[in-house]
């Protein structure tokens, strides 16, 4: 699943490590999610969205949305 975490994170001026601290995960987890190597759990997806001030729908793109 693709996502816009990097885009929103950079807009907010937060580093990967900073976002990781705010969501209680490691920097490597954020890096893996940003590079589409790992799909986060629903709970982490909500935490990321809340931290970045957007909705889960804005942050993650389903396969149908990518094709459009």
């Amino acid at each position: 699943m693709e996502n816009k975490i990097k885009e929103y994170r950079e807009k907010k001026g937060i580093s990967q490590g900073g976002l990781a601290d705010l969501c209680n995960v490691s920097r490597q987890t954020i890096n893996a999610i940003e590079n589409n190597k790992y799909d986060p759990s629903l709970q982490l997806a909500f935490n990321l969205a809340k931290t970045l001030g957007v909705t889960v729908d804005d942050l993650f793109l389903s396969e149908g949305e990518i094709e459009k």
Partner: protein, 132 residues
């Protein structure tokens, strides 16, 4: 130096020393037994654990308790299971070729290893089955 790196260096050095000593002992006394296998196994287990997992305080890697760590453990458990079953199969075949007979305990372990995954899957699946 970070604890993770230091730990890996210490355990890696200890492993090399034990492996070196075991090879020396095998060459000189033709002896390689339970103690050597268990010590080398335990040291390698600690070494790989030290180079894989990070430390929460030092923030130097993936933590085993976070969800990515849990996913890594689940995936590696399943891969390890299949590798282990394959090695047991090889051991049974090698035993048959070298000794002409099959070790009954090894054969029992192979049978158990083959059935244990579907059986555990069955038990776990039961937890999620919806009863009308």
């Amino acid at each position: 130096m970070k604890t993770r790196k230091l730990g890996a260096i210490i355990i890696g050095t200890a492993t090399l020393i034990v492996v070196g000593y075991s090879i020396f002992k095998f060459i000189t006394e033709r002896e390689f037994g339970f103690n050597e296998v268990i010590t080398i196994g335990a040291l390698l287990m600690m070494f790989f654990s030290a180079i894989t997992w990070g430390n929460k305080e030092e923030k130097d890697g993936i933590l085993p308790e976070e969800e990515l760590g849990q996913m890594i453990m689940e995936k590696s458990s399943k891969v390890s299971y299949f590798v282990l079953v394959f090695f047991i199969l090889i051991a049974v075949a090698a035993d048959k070729m070298v000794n002409g007979t099959v070790n009954i305990f090894l054969l029992g372990i192979l049978g158990l290893a083959m059935v244990i995954l579907p059986f555990v899957e069955f038990l776990i699946a039961k937890k999620y089955q919806w009863v009308c």
